[in-house]
């Protein structure tokens, strides 16, 4: 099989033609039969528009949503990675107390629907925690340099509390899956590696740091990358608590313009492009790791 050039056979052509006909028929059904009045010309102005007053190009509604989605995903990923790593180490720890803590967290989060979790977190938990650390009051400060930085990294000051609520809820949710990925990675390393490093007089932390983790990392990377991409897609769920990310902006736009399909298709394409770019980057990174691992 290896090295054999692929040849196009009659079966391939028939299959290809079948798929082609099905796609064309679906498109025909969607456009002509449904008698939907398409209005694609209206879409570009929601992506990017020329501001009449300043004469500069500014992001439209949809692009603003993309920026929020990206910020949200990045924060949620960083937090989830921290939570996941700590909990993953807890789950593989020698201490029974820590193992129970890790297991409790994973089982609690994994067994509730994410939508319900986000609602509960926003209305009950977030509501009690954020005022306690003084965030909601601090965010009504006047426009200073700090509010500019906040605006760039998170959201405009008035929206920071809800943004934090959303990012933390998402991070806690994704963290449970990352915990399991990290646990599986560490446990997949042969027991002999622990014993050998222990025999060399390494402490447990040194064993993890120098022997186990470098090996586990290569096995952790692919599913972890998948989880990161999942986070971007899952961030659409926080639209239910009215964070103005891509999905929410799209829905608002549909409510105002009634351009249902144009807006949904645009949003679909944007999510696809973002996730595809991330996938390709991860693929590159995996190749790099493989090269590094090869003995010189």
């Amino acid at each position: 099989m290896i090295g054999k050039k692929p040849r196009i056979t009659a079966t391939d052509l028939i299959l290809l033609a079948g798929v082609g006909v099905a796609v064309v028929w679906l498109l025909y059904q969607a456009t002509v039969q449904a008698q939907y009045r398409w209005n694609w010309q209206a879409i570009p102005q929601y992506l990017l528009r020329l501001d009449a007053q300043s004469g500069r190009w500014v992001p439209g509604l949809i692009l603003q949503g993309v920026l929020v989605t990206l910020r949200l995903s990045i924060w949620a990923t960083i937090l989830a990675l921290i939570i996941g790593t700590v909990m993953g180490l807890f789950r593989t720890s020698c201490s029974r107390y820590r193992r129970m803590l890790g297991t409790g967290y994973v089982e609690l989060i994994r067994n509730i629907p994410v939508l319900v979790w986000i609602f509960i977190f926003y209305y009950f938990i977030g509501d009690r925690l954020l005022p306690a650390i003084g965030i909601s009051r601090a965010t009504f400060m006047d426009d200073g340099p700090l509010s500019g930085i906040l605006g760039l990294l998170m959201a405009e000051p008035s929206r920071v509390p809800i943004f934090i609520s959303g990012a933390v809820a998402l991070a806690v949710y994704e963290g449970a899956y990352i915990t399991e990925i990290i646990r599986a990675g560490i446990q997949s390393i042969d027991k002999g590696q622990w014993e050998a490093s222990s025999g060399l007089g390494f402490t447990r932390i040194q064993q993890l740091r120098y022997v186990i983790f470098p090996q586990a990392l290569r096995r952790i990377m692919p599913p972890l990358a998948g989880q990161f991409i999942s986070t971007i897609k899952d961030s659409a769920i926080v639209s239910v608590i009215s964070i103005q990310e891509l999905t929410f902006q799209g829905m608002e736009l549909m409510a105002a313009t009634f351009l249902t399909f144009e807006v949904w298709i645009t949003i679909l394409a944007i999510y696809f492009v973002i996730c595809l770019v991330c996938s390709l980057l991860v693929e590159r990174f995996e190749l790099y790791l493989k090269k590094e691992a090869r003995p010189a």
């Binding site: 449904a34 008698q35 939907y36 009045r37 209005n39 209206a42 102005q45 929601y46 528009r49 501001d51 439209g60 509604l61 603003q64 609602f119 209305y123 509501d127 009690r128 925690l129 005022p131 306690a132 009504f140 008035s158 809800i162 639209s239 239910v240 608590i241 009215s242 103005q244 929410f248 829905m251 608002e252 736009l253 549909m254 409510a255 105002a256 313009t257 009634f258 249902t260």
Partner: protein, 274 residues
Amino acid sequence: MRIVTRMTRIFILAVLVFTLAGIPGAMAADNQDSVVEQVIQRGVLRVGMSTFVPWAMKDKTGKLIGFEIDVATRLAEDMGVKVEFVPTKWSGIIPALLTGKFDVIIGGMGILPSRNLKVNFTAPYDYTGMSIVASKKMAAGKTGIEAFNKPGVTIAARLGSTAVTAAKKYLPNAEIRMFDDEAQAYQEVINGRAHAVVGSAPTPAFQAIKYPEKLYLPIDGTFTREPIGFAVQKGDVDTLNYFNNWIGYVAAEGWLMERKTYWFETKDWESQIQ
């Protein structure tokens, strides 16, 4: 050594538990001022709303425009504070008000006895009514509201809106399908999968003008009349009194009527949207 760590752990846990337990108390102490007082101190009036053409919607530049937006902006102006709009999903807007995500709902909310048990309403500042628009394909020949009150008739409406209440009351025999957004409800009828959509005037009429070959109006005007008020949290008489008198003041000026005519009777604003 062992005992010391254990004691430390118990101590940390105790501190954590008591801090968390103390938070609701601290918050209750915070909220003793009336909402109006808090707004003045903060310098910002936070208004909960949801997109509903032509009450509130975003224009091309992402700025909010609409009847409610005008009302809330003027209200904040008269209070001497800045206004901040908090776009919220309609289905979650009352829980968001009750948990203090914003100070007041100015979003075309119909005053319903059932809603009034959960929140306080101001005196009505506007009246709206439910109107119905039907699919030419599905409901050909049906006129009058009674024609739709039959088993096998599907009515689309927005989840959690008074359209659902009106549809259940006037069309008890029809099947009601609920959608999160108005656009989805109208799309269902345009696609010919539901017989008609019930929605606040004037959107049904506007949609019938936009899709003349697909939609028609089975009745002229509206079949209900609903008072619209601001919604605030319960137990705050000062705020209610302020808002009620503000409504009386701007109504006497004729300003409310003038704004209403602009958004509901004319379509001068349409070019700002698309």
